[in-house]
């Protein structure tokens, strides 16, 4: 490990810490900027909405006031908030009292991560390959014909594609289930039937996200590849008599790929924002649907928990992408 790599790592760690700090602070400050205390307001709204009949408002409210020290100075509350977070204590759900927010978020997180990782890797790989092929002379007549369609799809929000997908493949053709993560009757086990069920339910949400982003990756890769193919080392490789396939993959893609990784890190946040709504459309049991249900039920601590986990998970994912970067680019290691 050289000095510059250490500096790079330290800078990235600092940024990761900063993003988490901002997320936590925003989560803490915004509800408190408004008049009244947040818990009382949320509970009052719950009551007027008529969904709070099933619980003892006074008891819940008192227990929160005591636990969060809402009568203490703001600075103390802020420190308490941090110490709770470090103990993974995000509070308790109002609607599903007394279930812990951590449990609910923990149950939803794997679904979201699985869906997003598959969709992103799929669209990133397919899109980049398509883009590279587009820049290759005479390459991909079929792909070229697909490009305008892909561009239009990438301009449309994922969740609108999701609605269209449900209509075509679940309502009209009845090929795939319209909603949920597994059949409602399924008992989750580690066997083929369960895996197949999970896959069947993931196809449409995954396709909505992937189809909506392939065009973006293809366009980015194309412009990078065009630049790379104009470089002298390509001419040299050609003069050496290397096969076109070798030039394409080892000389072209290998070099054009790096800026794509940077673009991936920069665009993950937009993908996540879109995916939250895709989950809502499919009622997929991930963080997006949990957030939606929490918003509808004014479930204050669940909203906060989901938002925080979304931001932190994404920040960590980007950190990992940035850690992979030096492995792919030997120049940065020097």
């Amino acid at each position: 490990m050289s000095l510059s790599l250490v500096q790079y790592l330290i800078r990235r760690l600092f940024q990761l810490a900063l993003v988490i700090f901002i997320a936590v602070s925003v989560n803490f400050v915004i509800p408190r900027l408004l008049p009244g205390d947040p818990v009382a307001t949320a509970l009052a709204r719950l009551q007027t909405a008529g969904t709070g009949d099933t619980m003892d408002i006074e008891a819940v409210s008192a227990s929160y006031r005591a636990r969060y020290g809402l009568d203490q100075p703001l600075w103390n509350q802020y420190l308490n908030y941090w110490s709770d977070l470090f103990r993974f204590d995000f509070g308790v759900s109002f609607s599903n009292f007394p279930e812990k927010v951590t449990t609910m978020v923990g149950a939803a997180l794997p679904w979201s991560v699985g869906l997003l990782m598959t969709a992103t890797l799929l669209s990133f790989a397919v899109g980049s390959l398509m883009g590279a092929r587009l820049a290759w002379p005479g390459g991909g007549r079929l792909i070229r014909a697909l490009v305008p369609g892909m561009m239009v799809l990438s301009a449309i929000p994922f969740y609108l594609l999701a609605i269209i997908m449900v209509y075509i493949f679940a309502v009209e053709l009845r090929w795939l289930p319209p909603a949920g993560g597994v059949e409602t009757t399924r008992i989750m086990r580690l066997d083929w039937a369960t895996a197949l069920d999970v896959l069947r339910h993931a196809v449409l949400p995954c396709l909505s996200i992937a189809l909506g982003s392939i065009g973006f990756w293809a366009l980015g890769m194309r412009s990078q590849m065009v630049c790379v193919l104009g470089e002298d080392y390509i001419t040299f490789a050609e003069a050496k008599g290397l096969s076109p396939g070798r030039i394409f993959f080892r000389y072209g893609i290998r070099n054009a790929f790096l800026p794509q990784i940077t673009a991936l890190a920069l665009n993950l946040s937009a993908v996540v924002s879109g995916a939250v709504l895709v989950e809502v459309i499919f009622n997929y049991p991930g963080l997006g649907s949990l957030l939606y249900v929490a918003i509808r039920g004014q479930d204050y601590f669940v909203i906060q928990g989901v938002v925080l986990v979304l931001i932190v998970t994404l920040a960590v994912a980007m950190f990992i992408v940035d850690l992979i970067y030096p492995l792919l680019d030997p120049r940065i290691r020097r």
Binding site: I281, I295, V307, M318
Partner: protein, 287 residues
């Protein structure tokens, strides 16, 4: 082989460029025109809940059908589109305005101000906007289209800030800035008379992208049910269609019109922004 690659570099780019911008502006112009004229031709009261027979397929008195709450879809679309566009434009103007000011300050004055602005904008760019917007929008008691525009604008400035800051940094090193300084112009005069005009094309180009991102965020928040409850917008229409399982119940005329309008808005903005980008960065044209 290199010659072959060079020859491949798109030759007709010039004409295609104009085409992109033209198509984008044409789509946006059509939508804008319909948004301005439409409300005069259709009766707004038909778009109220219970105004017409619910769940009618398109045809006869209802060219686009009616939804399950008794709203005429055509009237709803005609009045919802301008509302959504208006929110997007307000959020875009505020976002770009704020972003430009911060970018100019960061680029021109440097030092710790620059460091703070840069770090905050870079960090916010990596956060999924919807997460923070949900917390803000969820804390507001009575949402209106105006407040929605403000909420979304609060996270729409970072991209402009980055672009403007980068441009100011390169412009600052140019000869004519040095000349102006020697001529005795104050830093403020240099900023507004010398730097500003040269940054303008980039500000205009980032405006289109910002409006597009703002509309995306607004419709997203509305689809989550955080929009104004009693105003007609495209996002609210999607929300109600989703709430009533319009897709599963086969009311395609309920969800298809807002999707078509929204898709046209985004495709129009996308083409315009690609066209503008090449216009603002002529170097892209050669690629």
């Amino acid at each position: 082989m290199t010659a072959r690659f060079r020859a491949y570099l798109p030759g007709g780019v010039g004409s295609r460029l104009g085409g992109t911008l033209f198509f984008g502006l044409a789509i946006l112009g059509t939508i804008a025109l319909l948004s301005i004229i439409g409300p005069f031709l259709t009766d707004a009261s038909l778009a109220q809940v219970g105004a017409v027979t619910p769940r009618r397929p398109p045809g006869g008195d209802y060219p686009l059908g009616t939804d399950a709450q008794g709203r005429d879809m055509l009237a709803l679309m005609v009045h919802a589109t301008p509302a959504t566009l208006k929110m997007g434009l307000i959020a875009g103007v505020i976002g770009v305005g704020l972003g430009s000011v911060l970018g100019l300050i960061a680029g021109q004055f440097g030092g710790w101000v620059d460091a703070v602005i840069r770090v905050v904008s870079d960090s916010l760019l990596t956060v999924p906007a919807i997460a923070i917007l949900v917390v803000i929008a969820g804390s507001i008691d009575r949402m209106t289209t105006g407040i929605m525009a403000l909420v979304v604008a609060s996270l729409s400035w970072m991209f402009t800030t980055r672009t403007v800051r980068a441009q100011v940094l390169t412009i600052r090193e140019r000869g004519y800035i040095e000349v102006a300084r020697v001529n005795g112009e104050t830093p403020m005069e240099i900023l507004f008379r010398e730097v500003m005009p040269n940054v303008m094309p980039y500000i205009v180009a980032s405006f289109v992208g910002t409006v597009s991102a703002a509309i995306l965020a607004i419709i997203g928040l509305e689809a989550l049910g955080l929009g104004s409850q009693d105003e007609m917008t495209l996002g609210n229409t999607i929300y109600w269609a989703q709430q009533s399982s319009a897709v599963l119940r086969g009311f395609w005329w309920w969800w298809a019109p807002p999707i078509v309008v929204i898709a046209m808005i985004f495709v129009g903005l996308f083409l315009t922004s690609v066209g503008f980008d090449r216009f603002a960065n002529p170097r892209l044209e050669r690629r």
